[in-house]
Symmetry: C2
Subunit: 333 residues, 2 copies
Amino acid sequence: MSGLPVVIEVTRGPVVESRHEGIAAVVRSDGTVVDSWGDIDAVVLPRSANKPIQAMAFVESGAVERFGLGNEHISLACASHSGEKRHVETVRAWLKTIGLGEDDLECGTHAPRLQSTIEELVREGRTPTPAFNNCSGKHSGFLSTAVQLGEPTRGYIRYDHPVQRRLRDVMTDLCGADAHAFPYGTDGCGIPTLATPLRSLARAMASMADPSHLASRHADAAARIRAAMNAEPFMMAGTGRFCTRINAALPGIAQVKTGAEGVFCGMLPTLGLGVAIKMWDGAARAAEIAMATVLSHLGVLPPDQRDELLHPPVRNVVGLLVGEMRPARTWLG
Amino acid sequence: MSGLPVVIEVTRGPVVESRHEGIAAVVRSDGTVVDSWGDIDAVVLPRSANKPIQAMAFVESGAVERFGLGNEHISLACASHSGEKRHVETVRAWLKTIGLGEDDLECGTHAPRLQSTIEELVREGRTPTPAFNNCSGKHSGFLSTAVQLGEPTRGYIRYDHPVQRRLRDVMTDLCGADAHAFPYGTDGCGIPTLATPLRSLARAMASMADPSHLASRHADAAARIRAAMNAEPFMMAGTGRFCTRINAALPGIAQVKTGAEGVFCGMLPTLGLGVAIKMWDGAARAAEIAMATVLSHLGVLPPDQRDELLHPPVRNVVGLLVGEMRPARTWLG
């Protein structure tokens, strides 16, 4: 346990060109702090990093069984996907299954992540639709829950809609604090994102990793979600992505999820731990290395991925190796 | 003058979601520090922010007159352009004028900046070439200098090539320190980028802004470069870009240039000042706001651009205003 912050460095030649600072907490489900770096009582917006928690009410609702959904859909409900073909087609078929369509998604439309997907659309004369939104799986989960429970689907992104209220109920049960009292901002996809102390966010992840103290409906849903994240890692993110890679490599051992603005969360069920990280500047490149470093520190990072995930190369336009990114010596480097 | 660092905040709803920290120096050409925030003796890699300095030897060589070049070429030599049609076509015509072609550019090829340019290429079944590289104007300036001075063009990006050695000579004259002694890394476009104390980088910009103490060949070239940056602001960057906007709005008053990894430089000839900024995390979004804030602090930011440049909105996918970016109250907010 240490008060020193998370520091990730970016080198170029002999110089540390840039550096990123953040906070991280490794916590047990009873709230015991196993490791902490920086001020873990600072409040962060979890953004997409708590999508696995936001998928709980969907799984608990019975919608999965009623509509014959599987691991790919649960993984998509936890995902920030890249809008690749399988993501988009699965979301479209899923919406059809629950009697709805892309027009019912309130997340908006943005370009898919991969340049190759964008170019394919241009070549085919098509434009992205709401199913391409990285959050379309989560929103399909919200819609499925509303349909299953007989609630209006319109306005499901609003703070007072039962779908959103239920997310706060679950968060309250998992994190050991009253999530209804948290201030909130509006997320990229339009739903509220709750201002959560990093310590509480890590504890919620720990409760997902080790739900033995939770009501059985929560415990069963958490186990189901963890299994789906490992079973369908592509659906969590996409080609070449960190979440896809780690969740594929560590079945039963780790389930990680990225969020916008430098947030990263993880569940480590074999260790009974939850992890939450926030890089203060919002840099995804640093949050990934920070998560890999924490996984390595806890002894779960696959040895064959250590070098590439802890010290990713910096290359210039022609592909020359000109530097690296790494945890600083003052942290866990 | 203050030791407190530059801090830029990103809010979402009631929360400061992310924050960026950096250093900034405002210096006179004699080295007098007018304003400083953070440790301005820290060493930074200027990256593209010192392209105006790197254009000095090109202008001094006589290549502009010999090849009938104009403001658009000088501005391109100082540019990190977006690879829009006019940028690419001007570079191609320029290379032809000096008897060379895109194959002689050693900067490599990357995708152009704007999605619309990429989509246009895909629709036309074309792929980017070295002229699309944001540094292709600077490299065309290097090649023009080598041709003009009868030096080999091959290998002009190497530390020991006369073209690069000359850049260090100019930097030494402008910054008040021996640039040949600076450690260096390799820039994105393959040339050396010199590890420069921020204070010295700001002083070099001040020497460009107020070259009265310099040899007349330097003074004439600096005046010519400043004029070109204002006269052809589109060539400096491109559609919607910060450098284009500021250099268009403040002819004779300010010439600013962005660099990778959160560096920003500026010349303020009417005030006789040079500005250099480095955001430690490398965030361009923060470096732009920091430059706008320093310009405002010095009284040169156009009033009609204050709100948009000092407090740019944060919007979500559907365009809803969900937060803002701003200088922190602890700095100049």
